[in-house]
């Protein structure tokens, strides 16, 4: 082969190689992968099914808008049955078959268990848990919450109580679980700082049981308010019914997982006047501008739960964090996205929260107090948005 021919062949080969690289780069779709361990069966299925629907709808919507900085979003969610071992297995399965950038966890236990693995794989995670323990960027640097932690939620209730009835007495009623015990110590400290009296704590055993003996304790203490934590539904309506049978004037309150309209509806008449803290706007809350809530209402004709809205919030925060990271020219690793998250201020959630939000540690300490109006079948806001310092 002559020298010219050799050069020509070399050029052709180089050209093919180069064009191949270009073709390969063009063919490789830019995508952001959101993995999720979702409890679509088991005791938290009521939340997981809705959350899964919220994530799916968000992903469809954001891809219709052109994705995130030109990246399409792919969602991979699998059922866990609300079992930690299943959640971990789902995490391993999803992360082994896709380059996951962002992950959603379904429980406190899962989020505690998977923490080291997150750091090893450099993935940013959020989840369904509001456990106070997770609100520690030192120990959980690649995790953040979708609202206030449980201590902050109870703190908001206490702030409201202190404003409505200064010096009031408050009973804390919680389940004998890690979930139930979570905010108790912080609640005592905050109550003292606010000049409220903690009338006592009532602990209920896990599982189905009669709470009549515990309700007698409520009568003995006769508190102005009682805050439930660590429950979804039972034994809240049973407690309220017993309190009414004893002619108590106590006002009852709850935290996030008790506060969905579907749970309030299940309580029946007992729900009248029931109050609680909720960081997100309800589906039907049309007060104030909320473009994302408008989109949600446009997509859905019927009521959607707060966990569905939580799915959208997960997506929106991912969009903001990933978008800022990409604009800064950084790869979508967990550490880079955490850096971005720490630099964000006054994040717009499209009206899901009533005002722009800021992270404090791993949580967003913002929420509002609502009261049940059984006749209207709605939760009505009774406070402004409360942001804890």
């Amino acid at each position: 082969m002559s020298g010219y021919k050799q050069i020509a062949v070399l050029l052709v080969l180089l050209g093919m190689l180069f064009s191949g690289v270009v073709v390969a780069e063009e063919e490789k779709p830019k995508e952001i992968v959101l993995g999720a361990s979702v409890p679509m069966t088991g005791p938290f299925a009521f939340a997981g099914i809705q959350l899964n629907a919220g994530l799916n709808d968000f992903v469809d919507w954001v891809n219709e808008q052109g994705g995130i900085e030109g990246h399409r979003v792919r969602y991979i969610g699998e059922d866990t049955g609300y079992q930690t071992d299943q959640s971990v297995a789902v995490f391993r399965r999803i992360t082994s078959r896709a380059d996951v950038n962002f992950y959603f966890g379904d429980s406190t236990a899962f989020q505690q268990t998977i923490n080291r693995e997150l750091e090893r794989r450099d993935i940013l995670l959020t989840g369904a848990s509001f456990a106070s323990e997770l609100n520690d960027p030192e120990r959980y640097p690649l995790q953040f919450m979708l609202g206030p932690d449980y201590s902050e939620q109870v703190g908001m209730l206490l702030e409201y109580i202190a404003e409505e009835t200064p010096g009031a007495s408050v009973m804390l009623i919680h389940s004998d679980t890690e979930f139930g015990r979570d905010p108790i110590r912080a609640a005592r400290e905050r109550a003292e700082a606010l000049g409220l009296e903690i009338a006592g704590t009532i602990v209920t055993p896990p599982g189905a049981s009669d709470i009549s003996a515990e309700a007698l304790k409520l009568r003995r203490a006769g508190p102005d308010y009682a805050i439930f934590h660590g429950y979804v539904l039972s034994p809240i309506p049973e407690f309220i019914r017993r309190a009414r049978q004893m002619r108590l004037e106590t006002k009852f309150m709850g935290t996030f997982y008790t506060m969905d309209q579907t749970m309030i509806d299940e309580m029946g008449e007992a729900a009248e006047g029931f109050m609680g803290v909720m960081p997100y706007r309800y589906f039907y809350d049309e007060s104030g501008p909320a473009p994302i809530m408008d989109v949600i209402r446009e997509i859905n004709d019927e009521y959607r739960t707060n966990t569905y809205v939580q799915g959208w919030l997960t997506g929106l925060l991912m969009k903001t964090i990933a978008g800022e990271t990409l604009r800064a020219g950084k790869a979508l690793t967990g550490s880079n996205m955490r850096e971005t998250l720490d630099s964000l201020e006054d994040i717009d959630t499209g009206g899901i929260f009533g005002q722009p939000v800021n992270f404090r540690g791993n949580s967003i300490p913002l929420g509002r107090i609502y009261r049940a109006d059984v006749e209207a079948g709605r939760m009505v806001p009774v406070s402004d948005w409360i942001e804890l310092e």
Partner: protein
Amino acid sequence: MQGLIEFIEISLTGLGMGGLYALTGVAFVLIYKATRVINLAIGEMLMVGAYLFFGLAAGLALPWWLAILFALAGGGLLGLLLERAVIRPMLGENPISVFMVTIGLGSILVGLVELIWTADPRRLPQFLPDEPIFLGPVFVFPEPFWSFVIAAAVIGVFVLLFRYWRGGVALRATALDQGAAYAMGINVPRVYALAWMLAGMIAAGAGMLLGSIAGLSPALALFGLTVLVVVIVGGLDSVPGVLLAGILIGWIESLAGSYLGGEYEHLVTFALLLVVLLVRPWGLFGTPEVERL
């Protein structure tokens, strides 16, 4: 004086739960005495009864009394079905195998309930009177009070049936000596079916009462765990033992919950189980020859 009134109130509250323990315990013992099967699915059978009532009263909007009758019939039918389809083919097998089958049955029943009604927490339509009861200065919540009254009445009816009804006598005869029962012309397989059917009905009734007190979710089946403690403490094959143990454990749990805290309720129950197993492993009134697993 106030302390004494409180003690009485707490004790009476405990009797409500005790009555339900005793009632479900009777269902357990009925099966064990007649068929020698340790039925660990009793909590799940109870839960199915509560869901049947929920489906009929809330889903189909039947009057509560009709829903109760149908739910009881449904519970009986479930017992009959389980005996015929699952337990009877296992007769003669190793007791551990049958015991394990009942654990599997429990999982299947929970799965079925979650398929039909989902695992979402629910509230049973109220059918117990809502007016508080005053016994002099003593206040009693209506739900546990009426639960106890109903449980006691049902147990009373069953005691009479066992004593005087032909089927009840056949049950007792089979429990005492199967060979002799066969020899006397008693249709023993039919007695087995009868025991499971009656146990299914009793469990369904207890499930409806428990659901009205504690709310409705598949977690209701966990009640079966405490019932297991009740029957071990009372004696696996003793109806009077189970009645006494049920009331005793209900009372102790109520006192522990009130004076120590809810976190001690189950601790005290299982501590009692441990003591009984160490001191009198056949239970307070059980037969010492009973085979332990």
